[in-house]
Structure formats: C-alpha cells, structure tokens
C-alpha cells in the first residue's frame, strides 16, 4: 500500500467511525450549553418578532372563538407526539420527524412559531433534546426559518398547480434542508474555522451532519405527504370546520 492509500484508509476509517456515531443523532437540536452566551441571546432576539407576530395571531384566533384554545393546544401536542415517534429509517437506525413542515402546512407558519417554541421547551425538558440556552437558536431554525420555507414552497407549488403529493414532499423536504443549513450556519458563526472563517466552518458542519440530516429530510418529506393526504382524505370536513387550516385547503374544498 502506498502512503497515500494508507492515509486515505485512515481518513475513511475515521469518517466511517463518525458515521456510526452520527446515526444516533436525531433532528438537529443544538444541545444545551453549546452556543456562546452572546449568540444565545442574539438568536433569541432574532426570533422575537416572529414569535410576537405568531402570538398575536393566536391570541386573536382565541378571542374570536374561545373553542379554538383546546384545538390549538391539541395541534401543539400533535406536533410533539409526531416528532417523538420513532420512525424506521433506511439505514435501520431510529429517526424522528421534526414535524414542523407538517405544522406549517396544516396550521400556517405563524402558529407554528409559538407551537414550535413550546414543543422545543418540552423536548428540552422532557426528552433532553436541545436546551434552554439554545432555545433561541433552535426556535429560529426549526420553528421560524424551516416552516417559513415549507409554507412558501407549499404555496408556490399550489400557485403553479403542481401535483399535490409533490408539493407537500418538496415543502417538507426543503423545510428540513433549510433548517439543517440554518443550524449549520448558526454553529459556524459561533465557531468559525481558523483557516477558512465562517464559510469553511459551515461546510464542516454541513458535512458532518449530512449523513443523518439528508436521509431524514427525505423521510420527513415522504411521511409528511402520507400524513397530509391521510388527513385530507379522512378528516377533510373536520379540518375545514376548525377554520384552522392554511388557505389552500379552504380553496380546494
């Protein structure tokens, strides 16, 4: 074996070892205490306008019809439960959906902001996924940025009259990918590479989480399609009556 081959062997062995550890990592919650204090606060501030908008929108919904209080709560619980259920992944290990793409499609991005941060708090406290100091960063990536992209793509596909399954798949898939990219960027901003700065660091983080996040995004896309189509076929009228659906379903009815 040449020296070069030996090196490549070592590198790929190291990478494979990493790969073996990585599948245990689920959706990309930044763990507790991982971000420097300044960034924790900064990401919290960045989320704030979105959360305030979401809060006001929910409060108005409840003022209009008090009955929607339990409905909104059920939706939040639903997102949590869906994201806690172990789903079989292609590699055989266990994964979890984030559920935020589904939430954005069903309930709209403003509701998902508030429901998302609540779900993240529960995930941190009840399941030790994520953290309280990293709540701002995680909320931004998973409950604001991702859902906005999901919702945007969903609406865009709707306007382009694309196939329904394809729209939902793309919405959930791209939302997940965007969350993954945003999280990598958040980490890179906090820990820029010495030799390449933030961008090089971002590439590193993207690379290291890719083995889990890319397949996860695909699975989430598929499962979101299955869920949305299932909900519409079996629960169409009920969903419509709640007035909680984002615009498209209402148009379609």
């Amino acid at each position: 074996m040449t020296k070069k081959e030996k090196i490549l062997l070592k590198a790929s062995a190291a990478f494979a070892a990493l790969f073996a550890v990585a599948p245990a990592a689920n959706a990309m919650h930044i763990m507790e205490g991982y971000l420097p204090a300044g960034y924790c606060v900064a990401w919290g501030l960045v989320c704030l306008p979105f959360l305030i908008a979401g809060f006001i929108s929910l409060r108005n919904k409840v003022k209009e019809n008090r009955r929607s209080m339990t409905l909104i709560a059920m939706s939040g619980a639903f997102i949590f439960v869906i994201s806690s259920l172990k789903i079989p992944s292609a590699t055989g290990s266990c994964s979890h959906m984030t559920g935020t793409g589904l939430g954005a499609i069903l309930f709209g991005p403003s509701a998902v902001g508030i429901l998302g941060i609540i779900v993240l708090i529960f995930q941190a406290v009840l399941l030790a996924h994520g953290g309280l100091t990293t709540l701002g960063a995680n909320t931004f990536s998973m409950a604001v940025a991702g859902p906005l992209v999901s919702f945007g793509i969903y609406k865009l596909c709707g306007k382009l009259k694309a196939n329904r399954r394809v729209s939902v798949f793309l919405a959930a898939f791209m939302g997940d990918l965007f969350t993954y990219c945003v999280t990598s960027l958040q980490l890179a901003l906090a820990y820029p590479s010495e030799s390449g700065g933030v961008m090089a660091s971002a590439v590193k983080f993207l690379g290291v989480f890719a083995p889990t996040q890319l397949p996860l995004a695909v699975i989430e896309g598929i499962l979101t399609v299955v869920l949305v189509i299932g909900l519409e076929s079996y629960a169409g009228p009920e969903l419509n009556n709640t007035g909680f659906l984002s615009g498209r379903e209402k148009e379609a009815r």
Binding site: A11, A25, M31, F55, R67, M69, A77, F78, L187, V226
Partner: protein, 263 residues
C-alpha cells in the same frame, strides 16, 4: 414515553420550592455558558450530580444513561470544530491527506474542550431542573415570571394533551400491528400516515369535548388554578445565593482573563 417525566414525580426534591430550584438551575446554567470555564463546569457538574443523584434519589446508572443522550451531538459537533482542512499544518495535530492536511491548532483544541465542558455541565443543570421539578411546577414559576398567560395556558394544556395523544397513538399502533401493518417499508409508511390521521381526527373531537367540559365549569377565557407550593426557605435561599456568588466571581475572572486582562 418520557423517562424524565416519570422520574420527576418520584424525586425526593420534588416538594422543594420550585422557584428555588428554577433560580438555581438557570443561574448555574447561565454561568456555565457565560464563563466557558473548566472550574465553573466542574463545580456545576459536581453540584448537580450530588443534588440529583444524592438528594433527589435518581439512580446513578439512570443518571449516567440520561447524560449520554446529548453525547452523540457533542461528539459530532466537536469533531467539526476540532478538525480543519488546510494547506498549512497547525500545532496540535496534522494528518496529511493529498496535498492538504486534516489539522487542528492548540487554541482550537482548547476551545473545543471548553465547549465540551460548558455543554456537558449545562446539560446537568437542565437535568437537575427536569428531573426534580414537575412540569406543572415549572409552569407555576413561569406564571410568576409574568410570561403571557395565553402562553402558559397553552403549555399547560399541551402538556396534558401530549399524554392523551400518546395513549391514543399507542392503541392505534397496537391495532395496526395486529393487522400486520408493518410488513415492509411501504406498509410501514402507510400505517404511519393512517395512524397520524386517525390520531389527529380523534384529537380534534376530543378537543371539542374538552372545551365543552371546561365551559361547563365556567371557563371564560382564563385558566385559573391553585398552585401547591411550599414556601421558600431562607436557609436554602442563602445557600443558593452563596453558591451562585462563587460561580459569578469565577465567571467574571474567566471573562476578564479571556478578554486580555491580567488575572
């Protein structure tokens, strides 16, 4: 479903005033993150371990297993911080790969270790709060902190509803499995979708019924409930204040040193 939820109801520290626990956990957490100091991390790690396992009564093996949950993220993330690809080899380690190096500097390695220490000790703070305080009590504290009441009420309802949905989801899964709903990946996916829709439909109807029940008891838009809290104890408050003061001093010192002052 949630081991942590089950454990917090059995903790021996459960009935300690929730505000005391909350303030302690959050302050310690803040100091761990703000200081990035090994000393603070070690003190916090030790304190939380003693409190949770020793005083709280959580079994050591369980506690260790719980601490492993964030480890995979820690390993992967730290690897990404540690290892750089560059043309110039750096001073901590360097593996040549082609015409570049997989390398890392001493400064980055130190920083990576600090991050690990801060993250790990922060996780123990979160665990202290989660394993020794019920969610209901945490919500009581949040209410006292004057978070918007709609937010708190949503959290209260969601907390209860989560368990309702889990029960229903479990029942649906069992009935699906007995009908061989998971033969191959395709049927598994479809079963998941059917379960999800069935779950949501039942959730909708239940949410209506729950609202009727709340209305029947005079719900007028504000959820008013009594809280059961032991009053805070002076001795404990002093101990917490003293402990946090130590951490504060260490944190200030650390920041002073890091920003180039002469410590």
């Amino acid at each position: 479903m949630s081991v942590i939820d089950r454990l917090c109801y059995q903790s021996r520290l459960r009935y300690v005033n929730a505000e005391e626990k909350f303030v302690y956990a959050i302050l310690t957490l803040i100091f761990c993150v703000a200081s990035r100091s090994f000393a603070v991390a070690l003190i916090a790690f030790a304190a939380n371990g003693i409190l949770t396992v020793g005083k709280g009564g959580i079994s050591l093996s369980r506690y260790c297993r719980l601490l492993l949950i964030p480890v995979s993220f820690l390993v992967v993330g730290t690897a990404a911080i540690l290892v750089d690809v560059s043309e110039i080899p750096m001073d901590a380690f360097a593996f040549p790969v082609g015409d570049r190096y997989l390398t890392g500097s001493r400064a980055t390695t130190m920083e990576a270790l600090r991050v690990c220490a801060a993250a790990f000790s922060s996780a123990t703070c979160l665990y202290f709060l989660a394993l020794n305080t019920t969610m209901t009590d945490i919500l009581d504290v949040l209410r006292k902190l004057r978070l918007p009441s709609l937010f708190i009420e949503l959290m209260m309802l969601i907390y209860r509803f989560i368990f309702l949905l889990f029960e229903t989801a479990g029942a649906i899964r069992i009935s699906q499995e007995s009908r061989l709903g998971d033969r191959n990946y395709r049927t598994k996916a479809r079963s998941f979708g059917e379960m999800g829709s069935a779950l949501f439909i039942r959730a909708l109807s239940r949410s209506n019924s729950l609202y009727d029940a709340m209305e029947s008891r005079g719900y007028d838009g504000k959820i008013r409930v009594l809280s059961q809290q032991q009053p805070p104890r002076k001795k404990k408050i002093l101990m917490i204040a003293g402990f946090e003061l130590i951490l504060a001093v260490l944190t200030i010192r650390e920041i002073w040193v890091r920003t180039g002052g002469h410590g």
